[in-house]
Structures are given as C-alpha cells and as structure tokens.
C-alpha cells in the first residue's frame, strides 16, 4: 500500500463543505496539502477527483490518543492493519498505539516495529506509545530516551492497563521525559484501593450484585498525587480516561494552579452508566466491562461539562478489541474493554453537539487539535487553512446510523453500541490528501 509518509498524487476538490460547521467553502487539496480554500478555487475544473460535500462538515483529521492495536501478540483480536482500517472508517488520521502488547513496546526496536507496521498498512499514522517501565512491571524505567530518539520519535509514555503506582518511579519518569519534551499518560488507579478482582464501579449496585468494585477514590488519589508530582518536577502529566467527578475537580484545580496537566475522556464514559450491569438491564454483560469502569450518571454529567469547558482536553477512544472467547467468561473473569474507533465521532456528535454542549469547532479541538498537541504530532490537528497538511475528515451531521456490530472492520465484535441509533456519520477521511475512506467505505 501507499507509504503514508508520502503524499497523494493528483488533486482532490472538496466541494461545498461547511468548515468546522460554519462557513461553506470549496477546498482544493494537492501534494498532500490544502492548496486553496474559497468559494471558487481556481483549479476546480482541473481536479482529478471531486467530493460533493453538500451538507457535510469538514474537520481536521481525528487523532486518537489511546488505541489498543494488539499487535504484536494478540493478532486474533486486532492487528495494526485491521485497527488502522477501523481508525480510518472512524475518521482518524493518526492514532497512538498503546504499549501493552506482547511483547511490550518498551524498547526502540519494538516502537519502530509498530511504526513500520502502521506505515505498511498506510491508512493512518500509527504513532507508538512507549512503556514507562520495563514490561509494564512498574519497577524500572524502560529505555525512554532510546525510544524518543528512535525513528518512532516516541513522546507519549504509558503503562496503560496498569497504573504507575510507585510514587518514586512516577517521579523519576516525569523528571526523565523532560529531556525530550515527553509526557507520561497515566492509567490512574491505585491497585491497593481497587483490589485484584475489581471489575466495576464500587457503589450500591456492586454491593447488591456482589461484584468487587473500584471506588472512584482509587482513581482520584492517583490523579491528586500525580498533579503534585508534576508540579514538583515541572513536568507534564496526562490523565488517561478520566472517569469520576472527583478527578475532574482535581484536574480543574491543578490547571488553575498552572500545573502542566492534560486529560482525556472516552466516548463511553460520556454516555454509558454503571446501571447497565443491573440484571434488569440484561445483567453481567461483559460487553460493558471496561477499565476504568462505567460510573453513575453524576460522574457522566461532570465529564460532559468538563469536556465542554476545557477542563478535559481531549476525547480518546481506549479502543480495546477482544476475541469473542476472551469476553465469553463470567463477568469477573472476562477481559476489560470495548471497541471505540468506528463509533467515537458519532458518539461525541450525539452527546456533545446534539445536546448543544459543544459546536463542531469544539469537536475539532477535542478530537483533533488538542490530542495532536498533547502527543506532539505537528502534522495533525491543524487549522483548515492553505498550506496545512491535508489530513481531513468529512462528517454528515444529520445522518442517523443504527450501529450493527457485524458491520465493523475491526477483527473484534465487543461493541457496546450494538443496536443503538447515533446521529452523525463519517463520510470521508483523507490522509495527506489521499482518500482512505469515501462515502463511508474504505479505499
């Protein structure tokens, strides 16, 4: 396939799109960049391909800070290629591939391998995340500097799936990544407070169902500790998948103090609640088993408000594909995680734009510009302006799509949105000027 580091041949004219949901214009793309923006670009007649974008919203290509691609190690659940397909269909032009593969991405060679697999797939820029500690064991720092200096230019480090719970290790990691402007993305969860068998939100429902739970405070104490460590070290910390109102308060406070902290929220934490585990709602369905767990509605509302007011910087999918047989266990024993790449945009459109909490410029900020800035990806999340890289996404804001898990291009089917009707659909994705998706279909 095409080397995504290269640019697309030919010219593409996007006709009559609403830029960030506002003014309508034609956009001419050539040599991987936006050449002209206006009502009648000069080269209109000369374009090799014209996309009729009447009624569609043009956004900068989406960037996902938090994707699990499972390769190497669990290619039966997802590969870099199939995950790239899902990302492109979801409107993404760049994804950050989490390090908890098997083997773990904790060396320069491992990071370069993921980068190369992404280039071979050629559908999105796959940017590897490096592990913070060797084998995610939480004890010794991984070779952070070698990963940063490798071809993969790793800037985001995370033991995601696990919390860097030793405060001393976290402090050293924060100090060390200052050398190359890196950031530690933390899966905030005190393992001592959560316990080894925790599998859902701790509250009245988990008490009734007899499920071991994570209290919100297990997340909040780590967020509180990490922002203090970030202040002490003068370094940058990123809070992955924030799930509680208490964490939001802590992040809001830290930002007000000038501490360098950013945060992401998943689409499912913006919409789904822990009540889905009650037997009257089908009960114990491992599709809804996710880490951090689904929380009560008060938390969900706080997360939406925090995303709207900028306390939470970004939406990240935490796309976590699993083979069927890893989910078909008793709830306590089933794997954590749900699919997210293909449904992220319609979910944000439904819950944030549809409710009036955010406009399309806001969506571009939380799903493209800020994730790119946090990850240090200079060619993504750019304004829709002449000379900028043509990483673009076209969305039909009026389309209503009923999600069918069998329609997925992911290898896995652990889709919590099956059967739900969502508003907003990705129609086209362009990576450096080359359409990877047109009319909703992979190219």
């Amino acid at each position: 396939m095409t080397d995504p580091t290269g640019t697309a041949p030919g010219t593409v004219l996007i006709k009559g799109a609403s830029l960030l949901g506002e003014a309508t214009a034609d956009v001419l793309v050539a040599e991987g960049r936006i050449q002209e923006v206006g009502t009648t670009p000069g080269a209109t007649s000369a374009a090799d391909r014209t996309i009729d974008a009447d009624g569609l919203v043009l956004l900068p290509g989406l960037v996902d800070l938090h994707t699990h691609l499972r390769e190497p190690g669990r290619e039966d659940a997802e590969t870099v290629l199939t995950g790239s397909r899902a990302a492109a269909v979801g409107g993404f032009t760049a994804v950050l591939a989490m390090a908890n593969t098997s083997p773990v991405t904790d060396t320069a060679e491992a990071a370069e391998r993921v980068l190369d697999l992404g280039r071979a797939a050629g559908l999105v820029d796959v940017q590897p995340v490096g592990a913070v500690t060797k084998a995610l064991a939480g004890a010794e720092l991984a070779e952070l500097g070698l990963m940063a200096r490798s071809r993969a230019r790793v800037r985001v480090f995370s033991d995601d799936g696990r919390c860097v719970h030793d405060a001393r290790v976290m402090r050293r990691a924060l100090e060390y990544v200052k050398t190359f402007g890196g950031v530690i993305s933390q899966h905030s969860q005190d393992p001592a407070l959560a316990g080894p068998t925790a599998c859902c939100h701790e509250g009245e429902l988990s008490g009734r169902l007899g499920l071991p739970g994570w209290p919100g405070v297990a997340e909040e104490v780590i967020v509180a500790r990490d922002v203090m460590l970030a202040r002490h070290t003068g370094s940058r910390v990123h809070v992955a998948h924030v799930s509680t109102a208490g964490s939001v308060e802590m992040i809001r406070w830290a930002k007000a103090q000038g501490i360098d902290v950013t945060a992401e929220v998943t689409p499912h934490h913006l919409l789904l609640t822990t009540d889905l585990l009650a037997s009257e709602n089908g009960g114990y369905d491992p599709t809804y088993k996710v880490n951090p767990p689904l929380r009560p509605v008060e938390d969900v509302e706080a997360l939406r408000a925090a995303l709207a007011d900028g306390t939470i910087d970004a939406v990240a999918t935490d796309h976590a594909p699993h083979a069927r047989h890893d989910k078909e266990h008793a709830f306590v024993d089933a794997a954590f995680g749900m699919l997210g790449l293909e449904t992220a945009l319609p979910l944000v459109a439904t819950v944030m734009v549809g409710s009036g909490l955010m406009d399309w410029a806001g969506v571009a900020r939380v799903m493209s510009a800020d994730p790119a800035r946090i990850a240090g990806l200079s060619e993504h999340g750019r304004p829709l302006a002449v000379g900028e890289p043509a990483n673009l996404t076209l969305v039909d804001p009026a389309a209503t799509v009923t999600i069918d898990r069998e329609d997925s291009v992911s290898l896995s089917r652990n889709n919590p949105w099956h059967g739900r009707a969502l508003t907003g659909a990705v129609r086209a994705t362009l990576l450096r000027g080359r359409p990877t998706v047109l009319e909703g279909a992979l190219q």
């Binding site: 701790e202 009245e204 988990s206 009734r208 007899g210 266990h329 008793a330 709830f331 306590v332």
Partner: protein, 311 residues
Amino acid sequence: MTRHLLSIDDLDAADIAEIFDTAAEMHDVQRRAVKKLPALRGRTVINLFFEDSTRTRSSFEIAGKWLSADVINLSAKGSSASKGESLRDTVLTVTAMGVDGLVVRHGASGAAHQISQWVDVPVVNAGDGMHEHPTQALLDAYTLTRRLGSLEGKHVAIVGDLTHSRVFRSNIKCLLALGASVTAVAPPTLMPAGAGEWAKSAGFATSYELDPVLPDADAVMMLRVQRERMSGGYFPTAREYTVGYGLTRDRLGLLGADTPILHPGPMNRGLEISADAADSVDRSVVLDQVSAGVAVRMSVLYHLLAGEETR
C-alpha cells in the same frame, strides 16, 4: 413459576409459598423407608460445579436422586480459562451431552445468570460468587417458617461478613418478600458498598453493633467468616471479631429461650459462633437446615423440571 432459579428476584411470595408446600410433602417422603418418587424418572440433571462445595452438591444430588433423576456431578474447577476455553464453550459442551437441567455453582457473581442465557434448559443457581444462593435462602426461610409459623412481622438478625456473602444477599430478599423485618449486622469493613442506600430502598436496617439487636430478634442467622478475610484487613484479629460480632455464650442470654439460631455451615466454632450457641438444643436449627435443604431442593427441581414434557 419461573423457568430458571437464578435469584430470589425470580420468585414472588406466592411462588415461595408453593415451593414450601411441595417441600413439606417432600419432607414427609424423607421419613419413609423407601424415599424414591418417580417425578423426574428419565431426566438427567448435571451438577456443574466450578467451585468445590461438598455439602451443597450432595444436597442437590440426593434431591435429584430421590426424585428418580439421573444425577451427574461434573467438577469444572480449573478448566475453561486455563485451557483457553471460554465459560460458554464449557457449558455448551456439557449441555450438548443431552441434559434436562443444570445445577450450577461458580465462584463468580453473575455466572449462573450468564449461563442461563446460553442454554435452553432450566438452570438452578447453587451459589454464584458473592451474589446469590437462592436455595439456601429458601431452606433457611422454610426452616424458620416451620419453627415460627408465618414470617410476617418477625424480626431476623443476619450477622457477619455481609460483603462477601451470597447467603446474605439471597436471604435479605427472601425474608423481606415473606414479610419479615431484617437487621443486617457487621463491622463497617464487612458491609457491602452502598449498604446504606440499599437498605433504605429495600427496607431493611443495618447496625454496626450486635448487642442492641439481639433482644428484639425472633431469629438469628450467623454467617461464616472466611478465614482468608482475616489477612485482608477487614478486622484486626479473630479475638476482636468474636468480642464484637460472635454469638458468644454471654450473648445467648440476650436471646429468648427458644429463639432459633441458623448457620449455613460450615461453622467456625469459637469465631462467629460459640459451641454453646451451635449446640443449644432448644435454639440451634443447624441440622434442621440441612434436612430442609434436601426437601427444598427436591421441590425446586420438581417445579422447574417435572412437566417439561408438556412445555
């Protein structure tokens, strides 16, 4: 009557009364020289136990056999996940052998509920993790009914490790459904998450202290304390637990002379229950619970499995 017995939620007061009526008839059969009834002749019931429990398995086995069912015990402990097989695969393999009913014991909450969605035969939950143990609650309530008459307005104290107890979760629902009032007694560390909210919406009381509860109790249900909880920091020492929450010889004096004492077994003598309480001839109904267990399980199997032909 429901198709499966997964939770006490599957039953209303009328269902429970019906189970008790049939259990009383089954109880009489137990006293006969020849104990067999033909009700489930030609039926196969599999006791599918993912977690060891000799007493519950034996009770279901005897219940099935006295109803003339072919009862097969399968220990699935340590299988599935370790061999890369899913729980669903394991269960579908077992049911494909040709089975008319499954009695399932599993260490994970919700397992019986999940299994019932994968198979097309009745499933009886014989204990799922910390969630429910509905036949235990039925046999406890049946034992109490025989002792106290109707449970309407009676006050029952349930004492011990509530957080980890499926017996508690089933009993609270069963006793409330039968009109009893319940006080759940435990140290704060062994109260389920959100117990206050749950108690309020379900309509039971909670207490961190045992002594004030006992004088008003018409029955006391002591729960087993799992030894492995002691290292989990739930309470400081066994001695301290016994002083706070054990049914000690001294505390017996707070109870009526014939107030029934229940325990699901096996008992930790000297920890949650003193020998004086366990062996109190007028009060301990621990052995009555065991014999009622067979009768109640016969009744449950009968209601779920007899009549399946005409389904």
